[in-house]
Amino acid sequence: MSGPLLTLAGVHTHIGAYHILHGVDMAVPRGQLTMLLGRNGAGKTTTLRTIMGLWRASAGMVTFDGQDITQFATPQIARLKVAYVPENMGIFADLTVKENMLLAATKASHARDIDGQRLNWIFGLFPAVEKFWDYPAGKLSGGQKQMLAVARAIVEPRELLIVDEPSKGLAPSIINNMIDAFSQLKAGGVTILLVEQNINFAKRLGDHVAVMDNGRVVHRGSMAAFAEDDALQQSLMGLTL
């Protein structure tokens, strides 16, 4: 099947009294990496949460693989092999790293049931996960938690990986790890949607780019073209100093 894996059409989201998304239109092509960029408060995180069903769209439609998932509950969406890493990483601090990983392996009831080959591949990408296997996850540093969060999201094969600001607060060496991991995942056929503020990170990874402002997508295009065009970056993101 061709066509985008995920589409949003005219999506509006209200949080309490606040109207956050004002008609988001975007498409996430299969097997590629799409960057969702934009200033703080532009509505990026709300968009991801609406895709995951954590907030309900008040108007518009979200489709996944051709199927309308707008009214799906979060677990239903997750079971379509969509993994989500929230901005706060969603690590279970009182559980061990092993238990965090086991939770994400929906089919495994014990750690030994987790696909060993896949686990070794993850250990290769993120050595800290192996190193601190029996530690309470709350004891990890911020960067280690971020690695665990991504490792947890890919412990089973996924169709779509959604990550909110993977580079946030990370040291440069860890960022390189992340970039490596996402490249390998993409090579394995996974579709990836990342929210980013860090333009350099975005430039090194993205195939496509969507820029949000004021609850709408205001620019769509290829990452290469976007990276070339300083004026465009400046006008859309206000980021260039």
Binding site: F92, D94, L95, E99, S109, L140, Q144
Partner: protein, 338 residues
């Protein structure tokens, strides 16, 4: 970044189990020994206190998980206690041949039958309670308090309609009456059974929580239910299951409480409820281990002060709660993110 975890080489889990609260129970027991004076009286009271504590734990464990998992304040938990106890009067009432039998195993079967039926009934009513009363008020604490309180009144009145408003005796079967003599101390047999049952429930709960996937989900859900949903699990379903099991455990606790007191009254739920609240506040909302320690402390305290100064028994438990909260304002074992 982290100063403990950056060292190279294989990392070993840090042993940082918080053991201090575990000392509370023996310390309390030993502190009152000189006050009471007679070691045999002390032993009798201590066993009675542990038995009472175990029963309270059985009841409180469900409530604390219900709170932890869905942030639901259930003030109606007490109704399942009374329900279980009244169901037990009916079941034991229709098994006179078994309860009056001199053979212990027949007595035990009667008691276990009463417990199983009480748990089934309390669990089923718990399911209805969750669907009808609790579900519409998820996330609204004020309404939860009011609605579940209303639910308890209705439940208590319905019990009066079915079993009558008066006190009903709940006699122990033949073989469980009387006491075992240890030295100078008389220890009632049923109290030993209660300690045993409470221990079994704790072990079973601890096993489920730490060794199974369901337990892992519950512990994770207590911390961050949204993330559990994002991983593909239906937390609501899990919550309903925990609510039903919690209600069933309250029913079981009600049977044990009724047998411990040897009478049941429709208001018993509301009375025990207060002890339960003290226990889960002491333990830290959402913590099973905390609930166990809290329940044992409350049970011991109630029995010691019941002997030393009966008029202030309930106040002693409030004083205990105040003391613990001054030490740890969020309870003995506060759960992360709560």
């Amino acid at each position: 970044m982290s100063n403990t975890l950056t060292a190279s080489g294989p990392a070993k889990p840090a042993v940082d189990f918080d053991w201090k609260p575990l000392l509370l129970v023996p310390v309390l027991a030993l502190l009152v020994l000189p006050v009471i004076g007679s070691p045999s009286t002390w032993l009798t009271l201590t066993v009675a206190g542990l038995a009472m504590g175990m029963i309270i734990f059985v009841i409180a464990s469900g409530l604390t998980l219900v709170f932890g998992l869905m942030d639901v304040l259930n003030f109606g938990h007490g109704v399942f206690i009374a329900l279980g106890a009244f169901v037990a009067t009916t079941i034991l009432g229709v098994m006179p041949g078994w309860t009056a039998s001199p053979e212990l195993w027949r007595n035990l079967i009667a008691v276990f039958a009463a417990m199983l039926v009480a748990m089934a009934v309390a669990g089923a009513v718990g399911l209805a309670f969750e669907r009808v009363l609790v579900r519409p008020v998820y996330g609204q604490h004020l309404k939860q308090i009011l609605i579940t309180m209303g639910g308890m009144i209705i439940g208590e009145e319905l019990i009066k309609v079915i079993w009558g408003p008066q006190q009903i005796p709940l006699m122990l079967p033949e073989g469980l009456r009387g006491a075992v003599i240890v030295g100078d101390a008389a220890i009632e047999k049923f109290r030993l059974l209660a300690v045993l049952m409470g221990g079994l429930v704790f072990v079973a709960l601890a096993w489920v929580l730490t060794r199974t996937k369901i337990g892992l989900l519950i512990r994770a859900g207590v911390e961050n239910s949204e993330m559990v949903e994002s991983l593909g699990y239906r937390i609501r379903r899990l919550f309903v299951a925990v609510f039903v099991v919690g209600s069933a455990l309250a029913g079981l606790g009600g049977v044990m409480w009724g047998l411990y007191q040897q009478t049941v009254i429709p208001q018993m739920g509301a009375q025990v409820n207060i002890l339960i609240f003290i226990v889960i506040i002491i333990g830290g909302l959402g913590s099973t281990g905390g609930a166990l320690i809290g329940a044992l402390l409350v049970g011991l305290m109630a029995n010691y002060t019941g002997f030393l100064a009966p008029k202030v028994a309930l106040f002693s438990n409030i004083a205990l709660m105040v003391a613990i909260l001054l030490w740890r304002p969020r309870g003995i074992y506060p759960v992360a993110n709560r």
